[in-house]
Assembly symmetry: C2
Homo-oligomer: 290 residues x 2
């Protein structure tokens, strides 16, 4: 059966469920065991956030979610690296790249203040805005995801609704990607006159040129990069996507490297007034290399 | 004096002003006559929406705003074409390309239900999300802009506040550009396997490939393009920006043309299952050519 993306047919945001079988019957989350319902080809349509990973963090509208794999089924301890190609993880990456909506179900237990008291609760649609890898406290590599809740959805009620709750209309369009700008971004783009620091391209459009300011260490949780000149590159949209989504990284001598093949793309184009921070470059590189 | 972008220092959204001098004194809108405060180099920091142009439309959170130039100072009648390079128009285009916030002031008069009863009112920050040209009923070419209100701002109150109103915090980051996706967009991207229909590029990122679905005739007001297969192209982000911002257009035989030079970029890459609508191509081309 092909996956259904978006709100379940007759389930309102905030609806409570006794167990995983009830989630499956209501078409909220199909797998009875796996936390991620997804494949690389289709994307992931739903996840269960159960606070099972110490490395997870739940801020309500933003969730830092650890992928699956590498833990011992008996002890739950991490005993191996996680793999971006494992099917649930690969599914969430496809959802990020394609901008697909992911249903989020929170389970009781764990340490999140947003978790329901008992059972499971459907908490609405999120999009995957970022993923990266990092070494956990146990020494193994984890795949992590940032999910952000779509706006214009009902608040999650404090009291759980039952299945009689009003269904939520399906969203027609979802935001796949947002380009943010700040006063510091404007300065960087002006210094480079909208020229991409990777390829030199200056996109000519009606009435001017266009570029994007790319934060090397991303703003917001969990990266908490600063909005400073030394953390921003002036890039064309294509190289901005590749920087953000792990398609390229920088070496200490400011060479741009293709993350997939390890091949040299070329030297970063620099400007004497625009120093780049080595520590932010290393932070970014650490997300995509070991 | 360099322009100040963002909320005025001590003026709350909804604050009323007697006249243009009062707007100037409060650093809300500096020019006493011009509707647009802006230059190509700096961008536009504020506009006054007065309903002076029949071609304007005011939907509250979305404003269709006609640029300046070409009308007779005495009779206000349009007697010549407007020019994208005229300084206020060029300023609003820079604000679009750079993602700068524009203060919107509404004036009394005209036919908008959102206009104040008397004087002027500061209605908060908008971003310029689109611009195009078209021939008005009078036969002259107009430059038009779409402005969208930033979210997370106070509602415009029905009663005007006075200058004692609470100041609004300056936003740190603004959204420069949003990539939206729909179920139909996913189909088009799948048909082309994320390959750009202009250049063939397939952006490789960590865990997959990335492309964007670009509506030829844009969704939303005033274009009201449909979310159908024949109105969507699969593009790399660079060519998506150039399509949306008037850097390229298509001829009837599906040749991609550079809008600035008129040079041929190449044939559009097509797929037998993906028919493109000639009428949407012509609509888009009409925005950028006469």
């Amino acid at each position: 059966m092909p996956k259904h993306f978006g709100d379940p047919p007759d389930v309102a945001v905030g609806t409570g469920f006794k167990n995983r079988q009830a989630l499956r019957d209501a078409e909220v989350h199909a797998p009875l065991m796996a936390g991620i319902s997804g494949t690389q080809a289709e994307g992931a349509d739903s996840i269960v956030v159960s606070g099972g990973y110490l490395d997870d963090a739940d801020y309500g509208d933003v969730i830092i979610y650890t992928g699956h794999g590498g833990n011992d089924p008996q002890t739950k301890r991490q005993i191996a690296d996680q793999d971006v190609a494992a099917h649930g993880n690969a599914g969430l990456i496809t959802s990020q790249l394609q901008g697909l909506p992911v249903r989020v179900i929170r389970g009781a237990g764990g340490h999140s203040q947003h978790a329901p008291a008992v059972g499971f609760r459907y908490d609405g649609l999120y999009r995957v805005t970022d993923h990266w890898t990092r070494t956990g406290a146990h020494g193994f590599r984890l795949v992590q995801f940032r999910l952000e809740r779509f706006e214009d959805q009902p608040e999650v009620p404090l009291d759980q609704l039952d299945l009689e709750g009003q269904p939520v209309a399906l969203r027609k369009a979802v935001i796949q990607r947002q380009i943010r700008s700040t006063a510091t971004v404007w300065k960087v783009k002006a210094l480079h006159d909208d020229g991409c620091q990777v390829c030199g391209e200056r996109l000519v459009v009606n009435g001017g040129t266009y570029s994007e300011g790319a934060h090397i260490r991303a703003l917001g949780r969990p990266h908490l990069g600063p909005d400073t000149l030394d953390n921003i590159l002036c890039l064309c949209p294509n190289h901005h996507v590749r920087l953000d989504y792990g398609g390229l990284y920088l070496s200490d001598d400011l060479t741009v490297i293709d993350a997939d093949s390890g091949a040299v793309i070329g030297p970063l184009r620099t400007h004497p007034m625009h120093r780049i921070s080595l520590s932010h470059i290393r932070y970014h590189r650490g997300l995509w290399t070991t």
